[in-house]
């Protein structure tokens, strides 16, 4: 049978920098192809050629047996049955979910688009992706993960035969991922095809039939799923073995050997997001905030950085502090790596150099704001940081938006290090980050903790929380429902607490998660749990989460 899509020998350069080198791969009907590779390997770029966002310099894309026309565009691609969820969200935050689902192809009767029609026709699509929101909600009011699901519904609205998911699950929690995979399998079973990009190995192995590995813009290999494993793929991607993804945890046991907390939050409440949260951030330890997506994790972090208005007491070194603005927080040596790195984490239009130097300008020009910034000190600082975090940039003068996502993330983190922070707040620090870089970041965080920092991390990735953190507080509808440490910190208990919203008592038999590097069990577990629990019991963060 002829492949549904074949990419043949495509090359692409941006301003002289070749990012795709004669890349070829095919997708058969009824197949799920996973595209894997490090950040910046060229996955999104090659998919952009398929979806018509970009045109190749050479080579061609053959769809449905014929090369795509020269004037290939997202419009034509959509019309030809290619649906896509891009890495960057393409929703209009100001329009309703229903309007977004049919964006560009609104069904109309006699030229008029009726809201009632839109809503009625959006409902089944939203249901299909496991999204329980009012289709009339403004898309911008939804948390990121739900927005990604709206994107998926939008892609499905075009009734695609080829579905492209470029990190479409990066902001999803486990049960949402489960819903996405249901859709993927459904589509495959009906003879459709899917191209999947993800940095979560577990997901790739859970649904894909074949995996194509890209490295530095070239195809390294394509493997059948049955004939490969986690380590093999990682080796192809990174070029070497990757041992110990997660670093050793902190040696000290907090119960036996209590250390005075550095930052204490009591009764922390952010209106309509979280209430009465108590947290202790201890130097040398990494605390995780777990839970389903949108249970207030994000707001806790934002409140601690002075970005969201809150009530409650926060003490630092035993002294009450008011954190009413980021400047206040920074003065107390708190650093924050935001979830939305493109708008809050880095200045995408500014150079790597400018980004890295920005929080340190005080030390680079110490006297006052009118002092000249020392170029030599700045150069030294930038060189040191790019070195230390292995930031891959053509030069420090390169604009941040030209970096791969992973390297942008590193910049967002690296820029705080010279400010000598004591508390590090990280929201989804490895979202969209390749496994090699993830490992680097985990080890970096542990080193920072060992140096005496107190670290607070949110993540939708259960495995990450379990592997990285010394303790995890599970949030449910804005409240801490469980705290897991030591041997109680397992994926199973974490998922259970997240979904049920209650503390699980003791565990009879903690599962040996370490043996399951693919994490496939967790995904399946989540799917099971989702099916068990009646939808009405589950929290509905829509409308309850505001974007400041």
């Amino acid at each position: 049978m002829a492949p549904l899509l074949s990419v043949e020998q495509v090359s692409k350069s941006f301003a002289g920098n070749q990012v795709l080198k004669e890349v070829s791969f095919t997708v058969e009907p009824g197949e799920v192809l996973a595209l894997v590779g490090e950040n910046g390997a060229g996955k999104s770029t090659v998919l952009s050629l398929v979806t018509g966002l970009l045109a190749p310099d050479s080579g061609r894309v053959v769809h449905d047996g014929a090369p795509v026309p020269r004037a290939w565009s997202p419009h034509r691609a959509r019309a030809a049955g290619i649906g896509s969820v891009h890495q960057e969200l393409s929703l209009n935050p100001h329009q309703s979910v229903a309007e977004n689902v049919f964006l560009g192809a609104w069904p109309s009767r006699r030229g008029l688009v009726r809201t009632r029609d839109l809503v009625a026709r959006a409902r089944p699509l939203l249901e299909r992706v496991g999204l329980d929101v009012d289709p009339r909600t403004r898309a911008g009011r939804l948390p990121l993960g739900r927005q990604q699901l709206v994107e998926l519904a939008k892609a499905l609205a075009g009734e695609p035969r080829l579905l492209i998911l470029d990190e479409a699950t990066s902001a999803l929690d486990e049960d949402q991922v489960g819903a996405v995979f249901r859709v993927v399998r459904e589509l495959r079973d009906q003879g459709g095809s899917v191209i999947l990009v993800s940095h979560r190995m577990a997901e790739l192995f859970a649904v894909s039939d074949r995996l194509t590995v890209l490295k530095d813009g070239a195809v390294m290999a394509t493997r059948e799923r049955e004939r490969t494993d986690h380590d093999d793929i990682v080796r192809l991607m990174v070029g070497r073995e990757l041992s110990d993804l997660f670093p050793e945890k902190a040696a000290a046991d907090p119960v036996a050997d209590p250390v005075a907390p550095l930052l204490q939050a009591r009764d922390l409440t952010v209106p309509r997001a979280c209430s009465s949260v108590d947290l202790d951030l201890v130097p040398g330890r990494i605390l995780g905030l777990g839970g389903l997506q949108g249970q207030g994790q994000r707001e806790v972090l934002r409140a601690l950085f002075g970005l969201d208005r809150h009530t409650g007491q926060i003490t630092l070194d035993g002294r009450r502090v008011r954190l009413s603005s980021p400047r206040e927080a920074i003065r107390h040596r708190i650093a924050y790596v935001p979830e939305d790195r493109k708008t809050e984490g880095v200045h995408t239009a500014r150079s790597v150099r400018d980004n890295l130097a920005l929080p340190s300008l005080r030390t680079l020009a110490p006297a006052n704001r009118l002092t000249t910034v020392s170029r030599t000190a700045e150069t030294r600082l930038v060189a040191d940081l790019t070195d230390r975090l292995r930031i891959k940039a053509a030069s420090p003068a390169q604009e941040a938006r030209r970096l791969s996502g992973g390297n942008q993330q590193k910049v967002a983190l690296a820029k705080w290090l010279p400010t000598d922070p004591r508390v590090l707040l990280l929201a989804e620090p490895t979202r969209g980050i390749d496994i090699g870089t993830k490992r680097e970041i985990y080890h970096l965080l542990r080193r920072l903790a060992d140096d005496g920092l107190a670290v607070l991390v949110t993540s939708g990735d259960t495995m990450e929380l379990v592997g990285l953190c010394d303790e995890v507080a599970v949030l449910y509808e804005g409240r801490v429902v469980d705290r897991l440490t030591g041997s109680a910190l397992t994926e199973e208990r974490l998922v259970r607490a997240s979904v049920m919203g209650t503390a699980t008592e003791s565990d009879e038999q903690p599962e040996e998660q370490a043996d399951d590097p693919s994490g496939e069990k967790t995904v399946l577990l989540a799917e099971e749990l989702v099916n068990d629990i009646d939808d009405s019991d589950r929290p509905d963060p829509s409308g309850s989460v505001t974007h400041a």
Binding site: E88, L89, N92, P93, H94, Q95, E99, A105, V113, T546
Partner: protein, 317 residues
């Protein structure tokens, strides 16, 4: 049900505020001019406000696309000039003149839109340069005030036609058409492109076409405003349009249109324009010294906007 009402109210907070402000103004107005609600006064006021309302509608269309139109005044003047000079040549056919003026304004808008869509220049820059361009063309068409509009038309517009306030009807029709357009794909596309241009493009929208269309539509509104002004004044004046640029921006912003695109409603703009119009009239009635009129106008604009920002921020939190 109650929830619905609160939802609706929350969505309209700024509009409710504006509406309240408008009511206050109307009451104050009534105090000075007890004939406020008589058909004659309605005619007079609507004749007076039509150009600003329509110009603000044009500005709003561009702002919804995330742009801003600094050439609006010039295009308004151009439409006015074309309309009135065509008449003066004695062709006598008002409809042709209107169509011609409208076409010119739409074309000017489309040129602006094409420059924004294809040239990759920020709208504020394009339209600033275009304001010289269209202002110059206006001077070529009509070097000095003049032109002619049939007296009957002027009379009917300004004093009513069989007791009907024609300008009010025109505004209502324009708004109705806008509402209709809002519910077509084109209208939704306008908001989609204004809200997230790249996303809209990646989702398969012809963003460039939508932009050009939107600017052309803005040109149509502006052209109608120009024609209205020509009929109101019975003539054309190449320099009369200039103040409309900034006034239309003020009305739109007051009406809740965001500078960043994708947010706002036309009814807000209409309210904004009415508030500005009534307020200036009211200042005339109060007999405040002309020296202080400018000060008061500026202060009120700032206070209204600051208040609105404050109130809507509270509501959003």
């Amino acid at each position: 049900m109650r929830e619905r009402i609160t939802v609706a109210a929350r969505g309209n907070t700024d509009l409710l505020g504006l509406l309240a402000l408008l009511l206050v103004l109307l009451v104050a107005y009534q105090h000075y001019d007890s004939s406020l609600l008589s058909p004659a006064t309605v005619t007079i006021l609507s004749a007076q406000f039509l150009p600003l309302i329509l110009a603000a509608a044009g500005q709003t269309t561009v702002m919804l696309l995330g742009g801003i139109d600094l050439s609006l005044g010039a295009v308004l003047g151009l439409a006015m000039a074309v309309f009135a000079t065509y008449e003066a040549r004695g062709a006598g056919d008002v409809v042709t003149a209107m169509a011609l003026a409208l076409c010119v304004a739409v074309a000017a808008g489309a040129v602006n839109g094409a420059l924004v869509a294809y040239a990759g220049l920020p709208p504020i820059v394009v339209t600033l340069a275009a304001s010289f361009l269209w202002g110059g063309v206006t001077l070529v068409v009509l070097p000095q005030p003049g032109g002619h509009v049939p007296a009957g038309l002027v009379e009917a517009y300004n004093n009513g036609w069989y007791g009907i306030a024609l300008p009010a009807v025109a505004v209502a029709v324009a708004l109705g058409l806008w509402k209709l357009l809002r519910t077509t794909r084109h209208g939704l596309a306008l908001y989609a492109v204004g809200g997230n241009e790249h996303g809209a493009y990646a989702s398969g929208l012809h963003t460039r076409g939508v932009k050009i269309g939107g600017y052309a539509l803005a040109g149509a509104f502006t052209g109608l405003a120009g024609i209205g002004l020509a009929i109101q004044t019975g003539s054309a004046d190449p320099t009369i349009g200039t103040p409309y640029t900034l006034n239309s921006i003020a009305a739109s912003v007051l009406g809740g249109i965001s500078f960043f695109g994708g947010v706002g409603r036309m009814r807000g703009t209409v309210l904004g324009a009415l508030v500005i119009g009534l307020l200036t009239n009211l200042l005339l009635f109060t007999g405040i010294s002309p020296f202080y009129q400018l000060v008061v106008q500026g202060v009120i604009l700032v206070v209204a906007l600051a208040l609105k920002t404050y109130l809507t921020r509270e509501a959003a939190e």
